[in-house]
Amino acid sequence: MADIAAAYGGTGTPVVHPTRTDVVVLRMGEVVVKAHSARDDAGELRPRLRAAASAAVNGVLLAPLEREVLSAGGRAVTVWPAGRPVSHDDPGSAPWEEGARLLARLHAVPLTLLPALPPAGGPARAARAVDRMSGDGPVEQLVRRAFKELPEPPPLPGLLTHGDWHLGQLVHRDRWLLIDVDDLGVGDPAWDLARPAAWYAAGLLEPAVWERFLGAYLASGGPALGRGDDPWSRLDLPARALTVQLAAVAVVNAERDGRELDEVEHSLIESCNRIVRA
């Protein structure tokens, strides 16, 4: 991977950034090389990468340095310019509004300007997270039940959707940009707002921050929430799904680390409990 970085102008000592999955991210100077998950289908990655390289998403999605998917050690590899991530020091001062505006612009990109894309990865991610729980205690049963009882999604026209948005999906170059095309595709864009919505509904994200995020999205003409008065009519289902996903991830992480759920993680389980009672 360092060879690939060097071939695209990367200099200096390669630094591997830790990820929670089998994804490997290596930075060398101004170049980032990403080895995608072994489970990812390179056939789906190819149009996603080309979409990120297309002029239609210029200024919204970070454009790759190489529009073709490369290969290293049997894994699909993509090459990107480096950017500055959001600081972890103070989430309150993170660029929530900028993230929301970028999502609003992403959702408004006409699909006709892009290569044919696979479905956005949000719903599949939630299902995978639930599948990864191995235990069968009351918490796992609750999370599985909340997942099983999710209502059927109403038929909505699919729009360009990021598929896995959180604060780690923003980098700053001359401006803030969205990164990570692994779940980019055609879907219900409300899923991109659903993780902050789930945090807010769990009492984790401060209402003022949520209002800033949602307000910026709506003020930018984001199409995900329809024209009605209540943004939650469209948000409810994906926010439930993300709550279940976050709870399942928390259960898996705690089990892997051999510890109890902490207070933050527990508030997601409580959210699942309210979901099955709602």
């Binding site: 929670r20 991530p85 972890h88 807010y200 509904a201 009492g203 984790l204 939650w232 207070e263 959210s271």
Partner: protein
């Protein structure tokens, strides 16, 4: 006690601090002195009760509104920040 109207038997009930006699026969009700006022006051309070504060926009299953301060404290920062930035 006998019903002043039909002479039926009156039965005593206590409801939310109001003393009521009701006739088993004609269902007529007798109130002690001051109890009509008590009822009227309770009715006024019921209608004047402020509606529950509107939810600040959120799902039916949302967390109850936290008290001021405290809830979004720094003691949870590490795990919370991890979640903000990861898949």
């Amino acid at each position: 006690m006998q019903c002043p109207k039909c002479r039926g038997n009156m039965r005593t009930y206590e409801r939310n601090g109001v003393h009521i006699e009701q006739c088993d026969n004609c269902r007529g009700i007798f109130l002690d002195y001051g109890e009509l006022e008590t009822l009227t006051r309770m009715e006024t309070q019921y209608h004047a009760a402020p509606p529950p504060p509107p939810a600040p926009g959120g799902p039916a299953w949302g967390a109850p509104a936290p008290h001021h301060g405290g809830h979004y404290g720094h003691h949870r920062q590490r795990s919370w920040v991890g979640m903000l930035f990861s898949t």
